[in-house]
């Protein structure tokens, strides 16, 4: 029952508010574009969930879109940012209820995350109107974590619903739906003037590949719904999810969905800051480079940066001390950094495997050296 009362650092929720505000701005802007291209939906065939009398007039619709955009901008700036997101998302959901033809899963998901973020303590950091001192002191950033947990539940619900509906559909399970998706992708590539090599066309047209891909996608979606919650599987789940969404972004038109899920994943990042330490020997180029790299790319404020003690300098110019006090040196440093820096996160498994392999090689050399010594 700790969930109900616990309070944790709201720094990352501020970042979420800002990013969701940006995504909502982009989405509303797209709706203004659609207004230009398709015209006002209420003047054409539309399917409201709400009574027809509630559907706004053209003038009111434009005002509502303007208010939604203003709310999103407040979310970005952080000045009444939570209230802005609440107003923006509520208007967005209402307009979606005015015409089901305008429903898109990705748009609905974005509106829900904006709505939830409004109830999170996301007004304690990334307050852009405050300039460089955008974050409140740590003690003031503490806030209830229950709304963040609801956001996590929303992520799981999304994966459960998407994966579950595919699992129940024999055409999805068997790979037929995905096979046709591949074919549509190939046709679109050819139409766009970028035909793929024959072997790729042949490979993507293999039913066995589509079947395997379908089962993998369903398994991944269902497992993400749970694995993101378990501390031991979370990091690998986040990595697999990021790859999954990048593949979707590359192969289908999903508007902002991949970006949205990237932002939603922040809800699963440990809220506490600076729990890891980067120790650098600033006398070396490598040490200075590592310090600059982390300063620039540590968007989640994972690291505290310290000078490497002189006694440790001979063990390398960079070391990373993890949350549990374990120290990574040498080839283990890239993995320790990549795990915590979003910009390098996709490379984390490769770095970790490389570090593991080098550690194994080293221990083998040590074993051989000791057994070959004088008896």
């Amino acid at each position: 029952m700790k969930w109900l009362t616990e309070e944790r650092d709201g720094y990352l929720l501020g970042l979420m508010r800002l990013l969701l505000g940006v995504l909502l701005c982009v989405q509303v802007w797209a709706r203004f574009d659609e207004l230009e291209y398709w015209g006002y939906f209420g003047a054409n065939f539309h399917l409201p969930f709400v009574p027809e009398a509630w559907v706004p007039s053209f003038a009111t619709y434009r005002v509502l879109l303007g208010l939604e955009l203003a709310g999103a901008l407040l979310g970005v700036l952080g000045w009444f940012g939570r209230e802005g997101l609440l107003v923006g998302s509520s208007i967005g959901i209402f307009l979606m209820l005015c015409d089901r033809l305008q429903y898109h899963n990705n748009r609905f998901s974005l509106l829900l995350f904006c709505f939830l973020c409004a109830f999170c303590p996301s007004d304690r950091s990334f307050l852009l109107y405050r300039g460089r001192s955008h974050a409140l002191p740590e003690a003031l950033r503490l806030g209830p974590t229950l709304p963040r947990r609801v956001m996590q539940v929303q992520v799981s619900l999304l994966y459960l619903s998407s994966g579950g509906s595919k699992l129940l559909d024999p055409d999805w399970r068997g790979g037929q739906t995905m096979l046709l998706r591949f074919q549509q992708g190939l046709e679109e590539a050819a139409r766009a003037g970028t035909p793929l090599p024959d072997w790729v066309v042949h490979f993507l047209g293999t039913p066995a590949l589509a079947s395997l891909g379908s089962k993998a996608a369903i398994s991944l979606e269902l497992s993400l719904a749970f694995a993101l919650w378990v501390p031991t599987t979370r990091v690998i789940a986040l990595w697999a999810g990021a790859i999954f969404h990048l593949l979707i972004q590359a192969s289908a038109r999903v508007e902002l969905f991949s970006w949205l899920m990237g932002v939603a994943y922040i809800a699963f990042v440990t809220p506490e800051l600076h729990e890891r330490t980067l120790r650098v020997d600033v006398r070396t180029t490598l040490g200075r480079a590592a310090r600059t790299f982390v300063r620039v790319f540590d968007w989640f404020a994972r690291f505290r940066i310290e000078e490497l003690p002189g006694s440790e300098a001979e063990q390398g110019s960079v070391a990373v001390v993890g949350r549990g006090g374990e120290t990574a040196r040498g080839s283990a440093v890239p993995a320790a950094l990549a795990r915590a820096l979003p910009v390098a996160f996709l490379a984390w498994p490769a770095c970790a495997l490389l570090a593991l392999r080098q550690a194994r090689d080293r221990s083998r050399t040590t074993d051989v050296g000791s057994s070959a010594g004088p008896g």
Binding site: F45, R82, F119, L140, S162, Q176
Partner: protein
Amino acid sequence: MRRSVLELGPPARVVFALVYVLVMVAVVVSAQRRPDHVFGFQMFNESSTVNIHLFRRVRGRRALEPLPNGSFVDRSQGAVRTLSWLERVHDPVLSKLDTPTHAKYGLEGQLFRLQLALDDFVGRLPEGSDTLGLVAVVETLKNGRDPRVVRLKAERR
């Protein structure tokens, strides 16, 4: 520090969380019962296609009259005017006529929407129109299989 009006107290937070989760579960589960599964997060649910051909039933003629490009000349009470499906229906799927089109949100969903679009269009025909109704002949392909032809119609009342 300014306290946001959205900062809920502990009991209200719990109520909010419970209500939100229950409502979302209800929305997702009930999406299964909606033909187009809207609000159900069912991504890429089908790879089906529809090919919509529109016809109209004209007073005094037995044969259906096709609607090239979705438009036709209507005669009502001496007035002659051109009516167009595409001027009324802007949905990217329903406005594609005589072309196989991906049935976004599923075959059942698009047929459901098409029926409502036909009803809407016919309901707006001018008084005394010689058009008695619209018929949509839809060639469907569910996930690349099971080709079927579905006839939907809307009659003027």
